[in-house]
Symmetry: C2
Subunit: 240 residues, 2 copies
Amino acid sequence: MANPTAAMLVIGDEILSGRTRDANMHFLAGELTKHGIDLKEVRIVSDDHPAIVAAVRALSAAYDTVFTSGGIGPTHDDITADCIAEAFGVGIGVRDDARAILETHYATTGHELNAARLRMARIPDGALLIDNPVSMAPGFSIENVHVLAGVPQVFQAMVASVLPTLTGGAPMLSQTLRVLRGEGDIAATLSALADDFPDLSIGCYPFQKDGAFGASVVVRGQDGARVDAAITRLARDLGV
Amino acid sequence: MANPTAAMLVIGDEILSGRTRDANMHFLAGELTKHGIDLKEVRIVSDDHPAIVAAVRALSAAYDTVFTSGGIGPTHDDITADCIAEAFGVGIGVRDDARAILETHYATTGHELNAARLRMARIPDGALLIDNPVSMAPGFSIENVHVLAGVPQVFQAMVASVLPTLTGGAPMLSQTLRVLRGEGDIAATLSALADDFPDLSIGCYPFQKDGAFGASVVVRGQDGARVDAAITRLARDLGV
């Protein structure tokens, strides 16, 4: 049976300007793979209202689950919650349960719950809060979209809160064979292997090291015995 | 005047499975910023024919220029060229000029130009070749889409070939102020600054270090004197 599908929407000018290298995508990809959910698409858009709304609608319609990262903090460029509300045609306002979390947190830490921080309690109508054990300001889930913070420590904690609530499939298993030959020399062998193991995904990823060409062949599938059989045959066919 | 816009399409299962961390996006983002072209969106899709065709069409229609990376090698999972041809409704076949480049290269290196390698000379009708000084197999440009290899050294060399052919705008200049205060404490100041400098982009990127919360405020714009003025005022307003 096919695994559930997921997409990710990364929101933030800082990635697109080259200032910051995204870390959340790589983390989420690994966690979803372990959980048996296939990450099928990632989009990165800037802090631009229409672009975010359009991407949320498109991804929510096309995939079982969507994760967003970024844009839910207290500053003027944090517009994700409003965009999500618009994408689903619901209202948004400060919600009592979210406000209570912030009040408790800031009372404890001695900071002021000012107007800017109170923006983080603005939650689209009908959404469920996502626990944030790191910095308390919650994420939220609405329909099939999970709205998470962009700071990596917080993003990771929120993924840990959400993942157990999702139905996973069979985890993808993979084995890799590194071959010190050009892709072009092994392409016919790989093609024949792919024909004989249509239930597996066989990818070839070239690399260059010290001026020599090589390739990592990755065999992926849900049945460990089949992955074993394919890698064994590949090693035999290539004489490695 | 607004700068030209660009999008990037990353093609490859290996990123979405979490096996590989994409390096090309971060590189391209930095190069485009220097060249005065605004990278507005990135999409990452798997080695899936319909997904690639749909993404190429959508991005080509929405932005001035599109760059793709990955999927133009000699193996069975390299389907990008065929997808590009389909996206633009043109034919595809082995082209003499591309074949000549490969013949020369493999004659020199003593490798065989076999059927798999000859796939790399399959070019959509009407496309222009992109020089590949690293491993010779060319990329190509068709309409506003530039199709580049996924191996980072080759991707970077191809970007260097393509960029001088594109009209850039004014490069974006940026200055950053790191503040050891929570975002919520500086949000009102930033919001007032954004109101008074509508020609600039003012982003706030929180971080945590050694348990303390801080934020990097990034001011970006095309006019260096304006960026200076905004950063100077921000430092004064925040007393740093």
